[in-house]
């Protein structure tokens, strides 16, 4: 008893240190977004004015709307394609393809970005929103496929047999049984795809071209004039969105986050 409680105390301590290490920079950034000072040195007083500045900055708001739109389209497209890929991966169990689906997630983003840029130039595809969306679908799809496959591992395969046996056509078995059963996996994958797309900088940077801008790109260009409290506020908003989506996704598909 004694030993285990000592052990668990140590575990809690080291766990807390780890989490603090991860979150202290974010917490400082969030705190400074409420700091009544132009420069990020020392606490002066509480204010919401940076959020007012943020929400009246047309450039940033436009970029945010673009980002949300790109994330929405990319995640919907990757949900459809990724679900089909995940179902196929589970059904046919080809080991080579199962590892291949991981590569876009594991490969260095810089490489993926450069290769996409080269690809678009090669096929004479005009860089802009379309290219950003296509690039985002490419890496979001893997995430959805993996989430769906994970969900299907926990599913009783005889459910589909039973549906057919009880009178459902293949299409009805797919939409009435398979999709509802793996829906938590699909939604979790979709939410993660949305977050990844919303937060992505490197791949977007390479595939954006001149005209298009997303929130991360806009923030990056603002950084050239130093880290302003307005950036802190924008970052806080992004962190909040990401946190909400990730927590929701982990609630829906706990296995995916284990």
């Amino acid at each position: 008893m004694q030993v285990s409680s000592k052990l668990s105390k140590r575990l809690i301590f080291s766990g807390s240190v780890g989490f603090l290490f991860l979150y202290i920079p974010l917490i400082i950034l969030i705190l400074y977004s409420f700091n009544d000072s132009r420069i990020n040195v020392g606490w002066v007083g509480f204010t919401l004015k940076w959020y007012k500045v943020l929400f009246s900055d047309k450039l940033l708001i436009d970029a945010a709307i673009h980002s949300l739109l790109i994330a929405l389209i990319a995640s919907i497209a990757s949900v459809i394609l990724g679900t089909l890929a995940g179902v196929a991966l589970h059904k046919y169990k080809i080991p080579f393809l199962s590892s291949l689906i991981m590569v876009p997630l594991a490969a260095p983003e810089l490489l993926v970005g450069v290769s996409l840029l080269l690809f678009f130039l090669l096929i004479n595809f005009t860089l802009g929103f379309a290219s950003i969306i296509l690039a985002h679908i490419a890496f979001c799809l893997s995430f959805v496929a993996i989430a769906v496959r994970t969900r299907m591992h926990g599913m009783d395969d005889s459910l589909i047999d039973a549906a057919r046996d009880l009178g459902a056509s293949p299409a009805k078995a797919f939409f009435l049984i398979l999709i509802p059963v793996i829906l938590p996996g699909i939604i979790a994958g979709g939410l993660m795809a949305f977050t990844l797309s919303l937060d992505d900088f490197v791949i977007t940077f390479f595939t954006a071209g001149v005209g298009a801008s997303t929130l991360p790109l806009a923030i990056y260009s603002m950084l050239k004039m130093g880290v302003t409290p307005e950036i802190n506020a924008a970052s806080t908003v992004i962190i909040l969105i990401t946190l909400t989506l990730t927590v929701t996704a982990s609630k829906l598909s706990p296995q995916l986050f284990k």
């Binding site: 009783d156 005889s158 047999d161 039973a162 057919r164 459902a168």
Partner: protein
């Protein structure tokens, strides 16, 4: 006309021949069982009847109609799966209503029919529950209600009791037989459990390596096994090497068993064998008596030594050695015995049996 005919059906997966040229026919209203060890092809055969696998060759005929390649959703039969395969996102009511919905029944009719079925399996109170809120036995009753709701011509059951604990399983044996008699629906039942097969079935097909070894009434399969595998797989059996010394009149074979013992055994199929043919003499342990002195003049008797015993409660299984070499088992009933055991290890006894109670099985 049989309700279901299987004609020369074979199925191969990769390089494995899972079902090898199987033919059988099932009569209307039968409780027919496919019995065999795992991997014997019984589940694959069932899945081909359901349409979930398509045979490589052969035909499956339901009430005169060739259904070999008909999609599963069009077949007037249902399967109860080992896992029950209840749809987890649907309530009990919605699960049972599923086949009717697929058949485009109108809502009011669906409601009446589902209510009736739920009443039959005593699940009316649970209509709004989800499968994960039910016990194993309740889930099974939902699966039964769901597959009977549109009155199929055939019900296929794939080891439906294997997930239940022993006492519930025995209770379900009675329920299943009752259900089959009440509905009159033909059951095709798959199991690896010989006791279950014998207790439930009107006929049993014993399968091994994709082939039917014997197809007969439960009593016949048990008391008159036709092959070594059937004798060995169903219950306990003494299987002693044997050779035919002579063929006598009235279907009697003169056997030399385990090099020492010689006796006559009657055999319905004596014609099929030749003098000098080798095989096994099969006799069930409960057909063998053991006493301290020889008590039976009309039985074959031989002295033996007690090697060991296993106490089963209602009976005790004794192992004897004849001439320190031939092992023979006897199941002795404890019905009248007041003492704890008959013999001790090393005791000298006389074992005796009626040779006609055993069978010669070809190699």
């Amino acid at each position: 006309m049989p309700i279901l005919e299987i004609q020369n059906v074979s199925k191969q997966f990769a390089d494995h021949l899972i079902v090898n040229n199987v033919s059988l026919s099932i009569e209307k209203g039968e409780f027919f069982t496919l019995l065999g060890p795992s991997g014997c092809g019984k589940t694959t055969l069932l899945r081909m009847i359901a349409g979930l696998n398509i045979p490589d060759s052969g035909k499956i005929i339901l009430e005169g109609q060739d259904i070999t390649t008909m999609p599963p959703e069009d077949r007037p039969l249902h399967t109860i799966f080992q896992s029950y395969a209840l749809f987890p996102h649907m309530t009990v009511f919605e699960n049972v209503a599923f086949p009717l919905k697929m058949a485009n029944w109108d809502k009011a009719k669906i409601h009446l029919q589902v209510e009736e079925l739920l009443e039959d399996v005593q699940l009316t109170k649970f209509a709004k529950r989800y499968p994960h809120e039910l016990s194993g036995g309740q889930r099974q009753r939902v699966a039964i209600a769901r597959s009977l709701v549109d009155r199929p011509k055939l019900l296929l059951l794939d080891e439906p009791l294997s997930a239940l604990d022993a006492s519930l399983r025995e209770h379900m044996h009675i329920e299943l037989v009752k259900l089959q008699e009440e509905t009159g629906i033909t059951f095709v039942y798959v199991t690896h459990d010989q006791h279950e097969a014998m207790a439930l079935s009107s006929r049993i097909a014993v399968m091994n390596f994709g082939e039917i070894e014997q197809l007969d009434l439960p009593q016949a399969v048990y008391t008159r096994p036709k092959t070594y595998f059937v004798a060995d797989f169903l219950g306990k059996c003494n299987l002693l090497p044997a050779e035919i010394l002579a063929k006598n009149d009235n279907n009697t074979l003169r056997l030399r068993v385990a090099n020492y013992l010689e006796f006559d055994t009657s055999q319905d199929n004596a014609d099929e064998f030749n003098v000098g043919q080798k095989g096994h003499f099969a006799i069930r342990p409960e057909k063998i008596n053991a006493n301290r002195q020889n008590q039976y003049d009309n039985l074959f008797s031989h002295s033996a030594k007690v090697k060991g015993y296993y106490y089963y409660g209602e009976s005790t299984l004794y192992e004897f050695l004849i001439n320190d070499e031939i092992k023979i088992q006897a199941m002795l009933s404890n019905s009248k015995n007041q003492t704890i055991k008959f013999f001790d290890e090393g005791d000298d006894v006389v074992i005796s049996f009626d040779p006609h109670a055993g069978d010669f099985l070809a190699e």
